[in-house]
């Protein structure tokens, strides 16, 4: 008996990955809705946790001809305890009971209304950020680039076989053969001409013999010239050329003033966490600058931005001023695609709002690609909102503002702000 034991464990996992993708693609609309739902319901700290997705079972069903309920159906069941032939049993109410289980009911759990499955975190984020992008990402430059492309850089006599350029090599060989054989072929021609003239005269036997030997020798020399020689070989050479990449920086401006209650701060943080995840995931090279402000603004790191509890009054322009400084020092607008997202409850020192407007208009907006303002507020519009409305009118393509009242607004507003505009 022949047999074979094979360890398949090292073999490819994810053999069914294509089928999985097919399924996800087919139900992308459903899944997208479920993902958006899930994101809204989450606590802030696990926004990126993967989650169970459920789709109405009838939408994923694969129909078959099958029997429905009704008619005369007999069933054989195990485990009789007290029945005897002729007993009558009340029909169980509500779908599957004694009758349904033995027969044709599918074994996949007909009773469940939802088809539930789990996405990987990767897939979850894919669905979360699908169709989003940073708008106007246009400035490209060569500084600290990491991307190269290979371009043709002529030929070299040295290289790997895979890069051999056949045409160039043969062309070189041809030229060499012509050059090396020229003198010989000229001599052969002369001798053949002489042979022709001699052939008519009978007395030149010896000379004819001589010429024939000479021709023979020349032929052999001709044959010794190789068709292709090592030094004929030419290889393509590829050189690395840096390609311009876009470098971008995102400024996250968050109001942490006293008027921002814990709830409002949570909403703001939710927004920035989404933004942070989105940028980290979709753009490998992007700088993120975190600025928090009350009456004074300070640049902080990620940890402090999301978790620090410091608070105070409100001067929004302080943050704008700090941003402007940082841009001037570290992110010259000529090289960088600059983005900013600001979140606030809109309450500001009365005289400060016009100042903010002027700063935005005067120095910030001309240098940024996109500026998004999110006001988290359940009451009526605040001074800052009115001030910003004027800006919106002038710069509709690079300025956007949205209002958020509770956590279920965050994800839609986020999607709205960064939706890919059809070109």
């Amino acid at each position: 008996m022949a047999f074979l034991i094979i360890d398949r464990r090292p073999n490819g996992k994810h053999k069914g990955a294509v089928n999985r993708q097919r399924f996800l693609r087919r139900y992308r609309k459903h899944i997208k809705e479920a993902v958006a739902d899930a994101v809204n319901k989450r606590s802030i700290t696990d926004t990126d946790r993967r989650d169970e997705i459920s789709i109405p079972r009838k939408d994923v069903s694969e129909p078959q001809f099958r029997h429905g309920k009704g008619g005369r159906q007999g069933h054989v069941l195990p485990g009789n305890k007290e029945f005897i032939a002729g007993d009558k049993i009340a029909r169980p109410t509500g779908g599957a009971g004694i009758g349904g289980s033995g027969g044709t009911a599918s074994n996949t759990g007909e009773g469940m209304d939802e088809f539930v499955f789990e996405l990987t975190q990767q897939e979850f984020l894919d669905f979360m950020f699908e169709g989003l992008e940073l708008p106007n990402l246009v400035k490209k430059q060569l500084k600290d680039t990491e991307a190269y492309k290979l371009i043709k850089g002529g030929y070299t006599s040295d290289g790997i076989p895979a890069r051999l350029n056949v045409v160039q090599s043969l062309r070189g060989a041809h030229a060499r053969r012509i050059a090396l054989s020229g003198a010989i072929r000229r001599r052969i021609k002369e001798l053949e001409g002489e042979l022709k003239t001699l052939g008519e005269q009978a007395e030149s036997e010896d000379r004819v013999q001589e010429i024939k030997i000479e021709l023979d020798r020349l032929d052999r020399r001709l044959n010794h010239i190789p068709f292709l020689d090592d030094f004929d070989l030419r290889y393509n050479i590829l050189i690395k050329q840096p390609i311009p990449t876009s470098s971008a920086v995102m400024f996250c401006l968050m109001d942490v003033s006293g008027s921002m209650t814990q709830d409002i701060k949570d909403l703001a943080k939710r927004f920035f966490i989404l933004l942070h995840l989105f940028l980290k995931r979709n753009y490998q090279k992007i700088d993120i600058v975190f600025i928090r402000h009350h009456t004074v603004a300070s640049e902080v790191d990620e940890e402090e931005f999301f978790y620090s509890r410091e608070t105070g009054g409100t001067v929004v322009s302080s943050a704008l001023k700090l941003m402007e400084e940082i841009v001037r020092e570290r992110y010259p607008a000529s090289d960088w695609n600059i983005y900013a997202a600001q979140a606030s409850d809109g309450e500001n020192w009365a005289e400060d709002s016009p100042q903010c407007r002027d700063m935005l208009e005067g120095s910030i907006l001309p240098s940024v690609q996109y500026y998004a303002y999110v006001e988290i507020n359940s009451s009526e519009d605040q001074a800052l909102w009115h001030a910003y409305e004027e800006i919106l009118e002038k710069y509709p393509d690079r300025f956007a503002m949205r209002k958020v009242t509770d956590s279920s607004d965050i994800f839609p507003v986020f999607r709205d702000l960064f939706e890919r505009k059809s070109a």
Binding site: M1, R8, R25, G68, N80, F117
Partner: protein, 517 residues
């Protein structure tokens, strides 16, 4: 008693151990005349097992979203602990590939080797259904051909179009088998070679069937022969050969789905026998190992515990009840055949005069080779098994207020239980009986299917509507499905370009006569 010299003491398995067990089991199996394909044992992990699940165990398969759905659903249930994964999975191929889970203990590995590599394997090789319907040596190649062909279709005609077509074919998959005709075995090598000629030839045939150019001698409408001349049970085959507007590649895809469905048909017909046979043999083989002193007492205890779990049958009113466990039923019948042969009682002598006292090995081999679930139960389900499982029979008639218990495990009930249980495994009554009745060649080109209703059991309407749409997708013209109860049409599904509607009663009949005019 001989001193025990167990093959292994530990519960962790190694490749040497598997090898040793395989060798010993093969030696014993030969003594019991288990004829098998060469075994190929593959060790896999949980994720690979889930992959195998969703590809119906096959090592290759074409891509389709429904397999992804299957995977996600298995994964979800597994991760939540609703189901354990099978210890093994074995496919009917030559060599016979058996997947073993890496986390099985050594005892479990020995059990599943006995179960899969000798039990199932010999069943695949010996049972008449598998012998006539499947070609174990060709299936993997055929699946590879199918995978490549469908990938090519996706490239040429788009993933979307191919997927839609497969959806439609899958909806009719259970009606893609020849239930009665004996087939020519599929031959994978020929498949590719013949495929091109088939494409062209087929298209020509179809065109001829649908020719609209009038013939010289005018034939009166009534004289057109009925088409098809006899009702056709294999819907996919009928579509492949006769659907008017399918492109050649679409016909080939229909054919692929049909072929694969046909390949799995024997498995669907022998679930009880196949599992029963494998369970019977793992029990017998491991006991023989024990008798020879090759395994220790601890091994046997672990094995018996697993074995007991495998053949556990919850009662009908238990929350764990999920139908009759095919392992239990099959194992009980095969064990009982052995008992009847070795220790027949008066009852056995009366009821099974042919096998009582005969050679048990001959008898179980004969039973394995020549029956399918339905006939196996009808032939071999003994009163003893009925009593042990306390089987009883109920009748659920929607004209009656209550469900009636019609038979229990007593003298007057055995026959009825046996017949009803056999019927429960008869695929042709478990699935609605639907055939192609007629195609209106000269009129609106509609196709009419006929559902022969049995015991007034209706079709599930929602499903039927969806399937009708798929059928329309393949046929491209109106599709009718009439339900016949005792010679008269009771209802009719009509699927046209826009929708599916149902008409019942008088109207259903009228619509038909209109179609015939």
């Amino acid at each position: 008693m001989k001193k025990r010299k167990p093959i292994a003491e530990s519960s962790e398995w190694t490749f040497e151990h598997l090898d040793a067990y395989e060798t010993e089991l093969a030696r014993i199996a030969e003594r019991y005349r288990l004829d098998t394909y060469p075994n190929q044992i593959e060790i896999i992990n949980a994720e690979q097992m889930m992959d195998a699940y969703s590809a119906t165990g096959m090592p290759v398969g074409y891509h389709h979203w429904s397999f992804g759905k299957q995977f996600l659903s298995t994964e979800q249930k597994y991760l939540r602990g609703h189901i354990g994964l099978a210890y093994e999975l074995v496919i009917n191929s030559n060599p016979c590939v058996a997947y073993l889970m890496e986390e099985n203990t050594l005892t479990m590995q020995a059990l599943v080797i006995a179960h899969a590599c000798f039990g199932h394997n010999s069943f695949y090789k010996g049972n008449y259904l598998f012998r006539t319907w499947t070609d174990a040596s060709a299936i993997v190649n055929y699946l590879l051909f199918a995978k490549n062909y469908i990938a090519e279709c996706e490239e040429r005609h788009g993933v979307e179009a191919t997927e839609c077509l497969l959806d439609s074919c899958h909806a009719l998959m259970n009606y893609g088998v020849d239930r009665f005709r004996r087939p020519a075995p599929i031959s994978a090598e020929d498949e590719k070679r013949r495929q091109h000629e088939r494409e062209e030839y087929l298209q020509a045939q179809v065109n001829d069937l649908w020719r609209t150019i009038p013939k010289k001698e005018k034939v009166k409408v009534e004289e057109w022969p009925r088409f098809p001349s006899e009702p056709q049970e294999n819907l996919l085959y009928f579509i492949e050969k006769n659907a008017p507007l399918l492109e050649p590649w679409e016909r080939e895809v229909v054919r692929i789905v049909r072929k694969i469905s046909q390949y799995f048909y024997p498995q669907r017909q022998t679930k009880v026998m196949n599992e029963g046979w494998a369970t019977f043999w793992h029990y017998t083989l491991l006991h023989t190992l024990y008798d020879e002193g090759l395994v220790a007492d601890g091994f046997m205890l672990e094995f018996l515990q697993s074995h007991t779990n495998v053949i556990f049958q919850p009662a009908f009113d238990s929350p764990y009840f999920n139908g009759i466990n095919p392992y239990t039923l099959g194992y009980a019948i095969f064990s009982d055949i052995r008992r009847i042969c070795e220790q027949p009682t008066d009852e056995d002598n009366r009821l099974f005069p042919d096998i009582a006292g005969s050679d048990w090995l001959d008898t179980v081999h004969h039973a394995m080779a020549n029956y399918k679930d339905e006939s196996f139960i009808l032939q071999f389900l003994s009163p003893k098994v009925i009593r042990d499982l306390k089987l009883f029979c109920i009748l659920d008639d929607d004209n009656e207020k209550e469900i009636e218990v019609t038979a229990i495990h007593d003298d007057s009930g055995y026959r009825r239980i046996r017949e009803e249980l056999a019927e429960q495994y008869n695929l042709s009554t478990q699935e609605p009986n639907i055939e192609v009745q007629e195609v209106d060649l000269r009129g609106d080109r509609s196709i009419t299917l006929r559902h022969l209703q049995h015991d007034r059991i209706p079709l599930s309407e929602d499903d039927a509507k969806e399937v009708m749409k798929h059928l329309h997708h393949l046929w491209h013209f109106d599709v009718h499905l009439e339900t016949m109860l005792e010679e008269s049409v009771t209802s009719r599904f009509i699927c046209d370009d826009e929708s599916v509607r149902i008409v019942t009663g008088e109207k259903a009949v009228q619509t038909k006569s209109k179609a015939e005019v």
